[in-house]
Subunit: 837 residues, 2 copies
């Protein structure tokens, strides 16, 4: 159209966004409440206005709780439009602005943990403080120039570097797994040797109370170390790390989650928490560790230790980093379970939305290398250098025969139901505990106290169980290193001690492979229930802790109970209770974590039996269905409790009728192609947002300019920092050549706008954003449906999506948070979550 | 925004597309040559003009060879713009239109095979005659209404149906695999029993020539049947079907590839071609068969047999169908190799670009069910009902010990190099043969003759090899059913006959497991070379034929040769030649097909040994790298020979600087929101295209209207067929309610425009396209780069992408063919392929 009405442009009209003329309907009013930012927004805006610069909208309530009112109206409108089937809807929404300035009480682990408000009210909220990662390439002119200047050898070098980094990721992750394994083995040896000699002595000298005290002391000290590392070292290292990695791969910036410091605390912490006798495994933390390795190696530096190799500079973008983190996560799974294929599938299931053949192949390479490195090192360590039979930290041991028929399959499905129920129970208990914990256990001291309390109680419970449940098994039926005789006759030892007096991994193997008659049903029940409760309590304590092993142990225990029961009833048909222990373990784990294909493959690989895949899959499927009826899996539950705006796989149901208008944030702060430095600085100071559409002046009513491109906060900061002030000189960039490398060098820690040193003269200059902006980012028409926006976002890993009207004028901006608040209810309806401050 | 200047709209300005004012540069002229379509375009256009209807552009040279001139200029311009770094480029391209009207000589297998021109000139071409599939949802008002009207029970029912269909796919595919296996076993038993008794007799009576004749006769008859089924039954059933399925999953409509008729011909054909002694396997065809099962079951009907159950109507869209075809392909792999996880990865590697957790889980379910069904049925058939140890058609047998050390790994990598070279040789020979075949063997009779010739020569070669290579092995070392003594002493039998006198699957197992000393190195070499040549010749003959088994057999033979050699040199270190046979098999197969992760997993699952994964992966990786140096894998090679516009995984290198302007087709035929029936009919008759942007009248120079939405040919045909002529009446649709079901009912065989029965009165009416068009399809700015468009297309499975300018006016349309013609050269540069007519 024309530029003639440039003078009459109306900026800063945040209160009215009429689309009537576009959709054929009457104007709909979205009343948006202005919100005072911490930054001096109002000041900046008025200053800008005084300076004659169009101030744009000085507040854009993206992802603030102001949405409450817009949202309700948006959904309502959408429904109205469909029901009436006539486009002319005139609808004025209720303007009920909810109390937005909720008291924030962030605990000392910082960004990850949810706010107290949430735990108190129990309502579902989303936190606005998580930033997103941007997996989309900014295809500006610098990028095009770089792409064009690259020779085929450059391309090959980059490709080679990718493979090299993936190789290194595999090797380092495998080495870390080896380190953890050997340390735990040695420390556990010391602990259980002392304990055993004490116990054996005390049975005769009646000093069992001292044995108990020694046990408590061991647990106390080890767990105290683990907890100190977590609480004082790096709080984000607590737990399994899988939820955090899941969020990272989903595109959410969880602060400090892939730092070297986190890795160190995680690795050392998990050592001590496992040796400390807690109901935890070392597998989940391996996945997190692998991811950190992936992130660190690919960037060629460790920010925690101010250490920069200066290599692999090309990989310093969110998208490249994500690929390597995927590889690291896969390598972690591979090393943890000896399941390289499972690792690849885990990385894909949890992370990558866009399947890429080359990437998958490299991830597989990382996984394989990781497994191989672990097996190789363990072979050397154990003095059989060419024995590569230990590709994972956990092994279910070798099953001679895992046959089944249709009757078995039916029983397995029933066990899946039990696993689903028991998993849901676990999750529900843990959810309440977590809420309680984040309300009352917020101080560092409190967290330490809880950790050592759990450690002590675990020791006491174990001791009491071994003391009271007196089932015995003959020596030699198990490869246990320190069998405890307790009150058993000579030549036999306590079978309860076989479960509690060794690391949980070894206990799982015992349940899977010990011969018929080793355990009694009552003994297994007596073990199962307290252990379930302790494991529930343990997950969430401030120590690095994996959930796989305790889940498998609980499941294997009741599964073996089922097997023993069936063996008693039909001794000819059901001969092997170990098979049922395996299925029970799968059912329990599936009921808790609700992973699907990757867990199936991990278990198939860990059992080393392809033919037993179908039963495992059926059990996991049933457990997931049953469990999902009661709530989400534990990882998703913790993500929800942390109020993270995670995007699920599919758009919520009934999202077809919700249009971009209802989803987007508006008003939008826009910049001009040739923009004054002072205005950029003001906007950056006033606004917390990360993406700014670049527009030209041809405005219509209620829009924010003709869409030309998108520029991000980081780019603007870099431009200002490099003083690329061309003042409209077309030859400026020839004299001041910049390349993408200059931007990547600062990644990912761009300076804040307050750190920039700009003189008064600088502020009066102007920048040509056209050279640096993304000239053709993805965009949608305002008529676009939520479902479509969702698929675009999820499929391509976007951070910003510009919404335009039929004249290509910017009318809104969609971010991850705008999308994440739409969820499907149990009844298939659409609901909208609130944002906390 | 307004429609007032509707009268002054200028349609049909195909020769000038100026963007100067938008990009800040001077206008660039794209001179586009008009091309006479087979349809009476000119007539229609002039008739329309006479009737006062804006004729639009009567020719839009999308995907025609007219691109030659645009293309060259586009790339050149892009480079110019980057090099000069100034936007003001004025560049007039050479208008050299190449000879476009090439003589088309499509052979009688129809659409799949490439044109003779191509084979003759050897240049790379793309065929314009392949239609694309549309995996994007058309989110029109009908869709929104349907989505809104659906209860949570509807959603659950659909989900349940999905699972049900995937279960059925698994069961039916497994049953088909069982049928093939049993038939081949029985037929092979008859053949080899007769042959053996004849041979045993003739050794004494010196009538070996009759034995040879009998062998030839057997092969001749069986292969004749297979070939007749293919040539007369369904030509697209020839070959392995993997390239065709790969294309289908990529989004290309390969005609008749998922029909029931194809399935029948494929299944029966593969039986006879395997029993006919050809160097073929039954595994590739299983993948194709599974895909047909997936497509057929999900649609609830078989078009070949005019049979419609009327169920699963919701699944009648391209996107849903693709999901089920993926499941079918995975089930096929699972049944063929007993590799359910490999099946899932195959479906993902070859097909799905968007990874979806739910879908993957269902695909896995199909795979598992398929393996289980096959194992279950085979167990029953063999009289051991609960033995589920045969989950696949091929099994590599049980390896007792597959240990390796770093030295082994190095040797394996070298074998990977050999596999890559030998695979490249195979592919090059096959490429030349295929070109020759499609030039000279085009008649049905010729194809039949070739098939039986190959069969006879295979018999003669086998016979000569058994006759001349006289290495013997003791009886009982192999589980061969019909050992042939030939000139061996009593108690021994010919080891060459162990390779040639049974089905290739059994021969592979012999090479993997026979004890040391069974085969001689000379014997293996004598076997390897002729068999390689025969296998090369066989792949492409008009019979259903799998490539996996012959490749594995060749590789296992030379691999075992390597193993024997090493065993002779270092008898203590390399004790097991079977291990090297396995690696050789992997190397050869990898060198030929170049699949990566799925092949690794398939082989890991087929060997049943997770620990041996790393060597297999290393070998496949090396073989792929070496092979890729000489050319593509055999499936991609056949796809290229067929000139199919397949989209690779990643955009070609150096595509950053190519803008949408250079990629898109222009001019574009646009429709108005309220459009006259006569004009729609004329456009549909005159144009072969499938997508038409819907615009409003607010035009700028060189553009085609303000973009409002996109309507497809099929939708238009349905609208016309249903006579939804509202003539501007806003209440029309209330009186004439339609739903998406009405559109799905006709899917996928929409009537042609000529089949519509429209009266003169009908033609004068008008249609409101607004209700049926997609109101917010994906679109890009004309400044968007090729790389970005590519990712959008590939990631979301699009068929059309509208290109708009900065005023949201349509300036072009991008289709798959526009993208597929851009390829990277060996030097990393961008090249553009030509389209054939």
């Amino acid at each position: 159209m024309s530029d003639e009405n440039l003078g009459s442009v109306q900026y800063g009209r945040p209160s009215q966004v009429p689309f009537g003329s576009l959709t054929g309907g009457a104007p709909q009013q979205h009343q948006v409440r202005h919100r005072q930012l911490n930054n001096p927004a109002g000041t900046a805006a008025s200053a800008a206005a005084a300076a004659g610069v169009p101030a744009a909208s000085s507040s854009r309530p993206r992802a603030t709780s102001d949405y409450g009112s817009i949202r309700a109206s948006a959904l309502h409108q959408a429904r109205l439009r469909i029901e009436s089937d006539v486009d002319c809807v005139s609808y004025a929404p209720d303007v009920t602005v909810e109390g937005t300035e909720r008291q924030r009480l962030v605990d000392n682990s910082g960004e990850w943990y949810f706010e107290s408000q949430h735990a108190v009210s129990g309502e579902e909220l989303l936190s606005a403080k998580f930033e997103s990662l941007d997996y989309d390439t900014c295809e500006n002119s610098l990028w095009a120039a770089e792409d064009q200047s690259r020779t085929v050898w450059d391309l090959r070098r980059i490709e080679l570097c990718r493979w090299l980094v993936h190789l290194l990721i595999g090797v380092v992750t495998g080495a870390i797994a080896f380190f953890i394994d050997v340390c735990i083995e040695q420390l556990a040896k010391v602990k259980y040797r002392y304990m055993k000699s004490m116990l054996d002595r005390c049975i005769f000298h009646d000093c069992l109370i001292y044995a108990l005290l020694l046990w408590i002391a061991f647990n106390f000290i080890f767990v105290l170390i683990a907890s100190c590392l977590t609480v004082f070292g790096e709080p984000v290292a607590a737990g399994s790390g899988i939820p955090q990695i899941k969020c990272f791969l989903n595109g959410i910036q969880v602060p400090r989650v892939v730092r070297l410091r986190t890795l160190v605390c995680k690795v050392l912490g998990v050592l001590f928490s496992v040796v400390g006798g807690l109901a935890v495994g070392k597998e989940g933390p391996m996945i997190h560790s692998g991811s950190v390795v992936g992130a660190g190696l690919s960037q060629g530096r460790a920010a925690s230790f101010k250490f920069d190799l200066g290599i692999f500079e090309y990989f310093r973008t969110d998208a490249e980093k994500r690929d390597f983190v995927s590889g690291g996560a896969a390598a972690g799974v591979a090393a943890a379970f000896g399941a390289p294929v499972g690792g690849v599938l885990f990385a894909l299931e949890e992370g990558a939305s866009f399947w890429n053949q080359g990437l998958t192949w490299r991830i597989f390479f990382s996984s394989m290398t990781s497994s191989f490195t672990l097996a190789f090192l363990l072979g050397f360590y154990r003095g059989i250098p060419n024995d590569l039979s230990n590709p994972g930290l956990i092994s279910f041991g070798k099953f001679d025969k895992l046959d089944y028929d249709l009757l078995h399959l039916a029983i397995f499905a029933c066990m899946g139901v039990v696993g689903g129920l028991s998993g849901a129970l676990f999750n529900t208990l843990n959810e309440h505990l977590t809420k309680f914990r984040h309300r009352y256990v917020t101080s560092k001291l409190g967290q330490l106290t809880e950790a050592v309390l759990v450690a002590s109680i675990t020791a006491v419970t174990s001791f009491v169980l071994i003391y009271t449940v007196r089932s015995c098994q003959p020596l030699g039926s198990d490869q246990m290193e320190y069998p405890v005789q307790m009150y058993c006759p000579d030549g036999k030892f306590s079978s309860m001690a076989a479960l509690l007096f060794q690391t949980p991994e070894a206990a799982v193997r015992s349940l899977l492979h010990d011969p018929v008659g080793t355990y009694s049903v009552t003994g297994l029940i007596a073990f199962c229930l307290p252990y379930l409760l302790i494991a529930t309590w343990t997950y969430g304590v401030m120590v690095p802790s994996g959930l796989f092993i305790p889940s498998l142990l609980i499941g294997a225990a009741w599964g073996r109970g089922v097997g023993i029961g069936l063996n008693l009833l039909f001794p000819t048909h059901f001969t092997d209770p170990g098979k049922f222990a395996l299925i029970g373990a799968a059912a329990q784990l599936g009921g808790i974590v609700r992973m699907t294909i990757s867990l199936s493959v991990i278990l198939i690989e860990a059992t080393g039996n392809v033919l037993f895949g179908l039963p495992i899959m059926v059990v996991l499927m049933v457990a997931k269905w049953v469990g999902d009826y009661f709530g989400t899996g534990i990882y998703d539950m913790h993500i929800e409790l942390a109020s993270v705006p995670l995007l699920p796989w599919e758009p919520p149901s009934r999202s077809a009728a919700v249009s971009a208008q209802a989803v987007m944030s508006s008003p939008v702060t826009c910049l001009y192609r040739q923009e004054r430095v002072s205005r950029i600085v003001e906007i950056l100071r006033a606004e917390p947002h990360n993406g700014f559409p670049v527009v030209s002046g041809d405005l219509g009513p209620g829009t924010f300019g003709t869409f030309e491109g998108l520029v991000t906060r980081n780019q603007l900061i870099c431009l200002l920092d490099m003083r690329l002030f061309d003042d409209g000189d077309p030859n400026f960039h020839l004299a001041n050549p910049v390349s993408l490398s200059d931007f990547r060098r600062v990644y990912p820690r761009f300076p804040s706008v307050r750190q920039l040193q700009l003189s008064e003269a600088d502020l009066m200059k102007s920048v040509d954003l056209g050279r640096y902006m993304n000239p053709a980012p993805y965009m949608v028409l305002h008529t676009c449906s939520l479902a479509r926006i969702f698929r675009l976002f999820r499929g391509l890993g976007l951070r910003h999506l510009v919404v335009i009207d039929h004249r290509n004028q910017v009318v809104g901006l969609v971010t991850r948070k705008d999308l994440a608040r739409f969820r499907a209810t149990h009844t298939g309806d659409l609901k909208e979550l609130q944002f906390t401050g």
